[in-house]
């Protein structure tokens, strides 16, 4: 549905905001575009919607090149920019009717606008002037304008920024519902938001894609080794000897003493190995008592920090972390 090839954007007189990025998004996917502020997320989204032109590279939406056939490509997109593009002097009704006409939609106008309003829950403010609406409602009206014309692709740039927690939950649930019928690209610098809504994550840093994978695979893919934190009751030296005797364990360290004869061990095992059963078997065999055991593989936050820190941004790593996803 979306195909981005070797996209580069260089603003006049500056360093490239986006550097040679490529990705494909299939129909029906909800993809999170994650990155710190200034990473190039909004620039990429603006290029996808033809608000900005790329310095080089190509973007195809539903088979149409954004540069060659802009109107056909744009007809397939609903876009909510970071700041909803609302005419605050208009009522919601006037604004949505204006967008309907602007997009040259050929659906039944009254019924379609009513459906969109029902979906984003703005029926009660339909006749109110946008200037007088709360930020939450303005955001919903912004999403409503993106939905006008029932586009196949929805591009939402930081849709929950500035909202209160209740509104954030509501907007996230709305995006999830929209994801059933649309291809959605959602940008954010908030990890929990992306985790809560998206099936796939593209992490962008300094204008380059540093990771592109399914949300659950990211953590596994980035942990070079698996880690376990275990609390065991028993003699420390014997425990260490026994744990180090497990084939798949590469390193064991004592990280603290919790009580008399109860120690906490940090066990590093070989890549992507889940060794909980072997550790449990070892404890039973040596008559130790396991009081707690926790998988300590990297959280998404840790991955994000690792990838977006300057040191982690290297071409080699980029290639390693996105197998088979590059278009």
């Amino acid at each position: 549905m979306i195909e981005v090839k070797n996209l580069t954007k260089r603003y006049s007189g500056g360093r490239p905001a986006v550097k040679d990025i490529s990705f494909k998004i299939d129909k029906g996917e909800i993809v999170g575009f994650l990155g710190p502020n200034g990473a190039g997320k909004s620039t990429t989204m603006n290029i996808l919607t033809d608000y900005l032109s790329a310095t080089s590279g190509s973007v195809r939406i539903g088979g149409f090149d954004v540069l060659q056939q802009p109107n056909k490509a744009k007809a397939k997109i609903g876009f909510l920019p970071e700041q909803p593009p609302l005419y605050i002097d208009m009522t919601v009704e006037e604004y949505l009717n204006f967008v309907f006409e602007l997009k040259k939609v050929r659906l039944d106008r009254a019924r379609h606008i009513e459906e969109v309003c029902r979906l984003v829950k703005i029926e009660e403010v339909y006749r109110r002037v946008i200037r007088n609406l709360s930020k939450g409602y303005r955001q919903r009206v912004g999403i409503a304008q993106a939905l006008i014309g029932n586009p196949e692709v929805l591009i939402l740039d930081e849709p929950t920024v500035g909202l209160d927690p209740k509104q954030i939950v509501e907007i996230r649930s709305l995006i999830k519902r929209l994801g059933k019928d649309h291809t959605v690209i959602l940008s954010s610098h908030i990890l929990s938001e992306i985790q809560a809504v998206c099936e796939r994550i593209i992490i962008i840093s300094n204008g380059s894609i540093v990771a592109d994978d399914q949300t659950e695979n990211l953590s596994k893919g980035f942990s070079e080794n698996s880690h376990l934190t275990v609390q065991i009751e028993g003699d420390k030296e014997e425990c260490l000897k026994a744990l180090r005797g497990i084939d798949s364990v590469s390193e064991v360290t004592v990280t603290g003493q919790k009580d008399e004869n109860i120690f906490e061990y940090y066990i590093e095992t070989k890549k992507n190995a889940d060794r909980r059963r072997e550790v449990f078997g070892c404890a039973v065999k040596n008559r130790f008592v396991i009081l707690a055991m926790q998988d300590s593989s990297m959280t998404l936050e840790e991955i994000f920090m690792k990838l977006t820190s300057t040191a982690a941004v290297s071409t080699d790593k980029t290639q390693k972390t996105k197998p088979g996803k590059e278009g």
Binding site: D50, Y51, P70
Partner: protein, 233 residues
């Protein structure tokens, strides 16, 4: 184009800008019409002569926010990401301002009808004056629209439009100072003042019609290029 035109026209008619434009236009043309009545003449030419400078002051008010405000508030994103061409957006904006000018200019028809009660006004002269004012206005609106596309500030857009319009008006004065005849003729040829004055004298010159329409088309074209260039920066 129609969606943009409708929105802009509605915005003019529901905002202080539109009301101020019409109020000031009606006020000054009313004052000049009062003079016409006082002097007992059946010609509206003095109104149009004097309204020339008023138009130069008023058009920037009409055009200052057309694109600069969209850029400042980022509402241009809804326009530029919609499946419509740049020409449609720019023409919609231009036509909305032009229709406001038509509404303002229509007061002169009423003045003509009032004169008709007391005498026999020269309707062809009134018509040529109205055509002249609309053509001059169209060129000035296109200039204002172009300048509005260059900045985010309404104030800068208004002042710059006024400055550029004044420049085109004062060209005929500058032409008289130029020593070389061909330069002087060339400068005079692009002077708005001389060409507009022909209409106020009841002369409908085809070359002047083509000149003003060409000026409008050129600046509308430049506006589309200016919007397009912004995407590439």
């Amino acid at each position: 184009m129609f969606a943009v035109f409708k929105r802009e026209l509605s915005s003019y008619l529901n905002s202080m800008i539109g009301a101020t434009f019409l109020f000031v236009y009606f006020l000054f043309s009313g004052i000049y019409f009062f003079y016409v009545l006082s002097y007992g003449t059946a010609s509206l030419a003095p109104i149009f002569n004097n309204m020339f400078i008023v138009l130069i002051l008023l058009i920037p008010i009409l055009t200052m926010r057309l694109l600069s405000e969209e850029r400042r508030t980022k509402t241009d994103q809804v326009l530029l990401t919609a499946p419509v061409g740049l020409w449609a957006i720019v023409l919609g904006k231009f036509l909305s301002a032009f229709i406001m000018l038509c509404i303002a200019t229509s007061i002169n028809v009423i003045f003509g009808l009032v004169l008709n009660l007391f005498g026999s006004p020269d309707w062809m002269s009134i018509l040529s004056n109205i055509i002249g004012q609309l053509l001059l206005g169209a060129a000035l609106i296109a200039i204002g629209l172009f300048i509005s596309s260059l900045t985010e500030s309404q104030v800068i857009a208004a002042i710059s439009t006024f400055g550029v319009s004044l420049f085109f008006v004062l060209l005929d004065s500058a032409a008289s100072l130029v020593e070389y005849k061909w330069v002087s003729d060339a400068v005079k040829w692009i002077s708005f003042n001389d060409r507009y004055n022909e209409f106020t004298e009841g002369v409908v010159n085809i070359s002047s019609i083509v000149f003003f329409i060409s000026a409008a088309v050129i600046f509308i074209f430049l506006t589309t290029r200016s919007l397009d260039k912004r995407r590439w920066n």
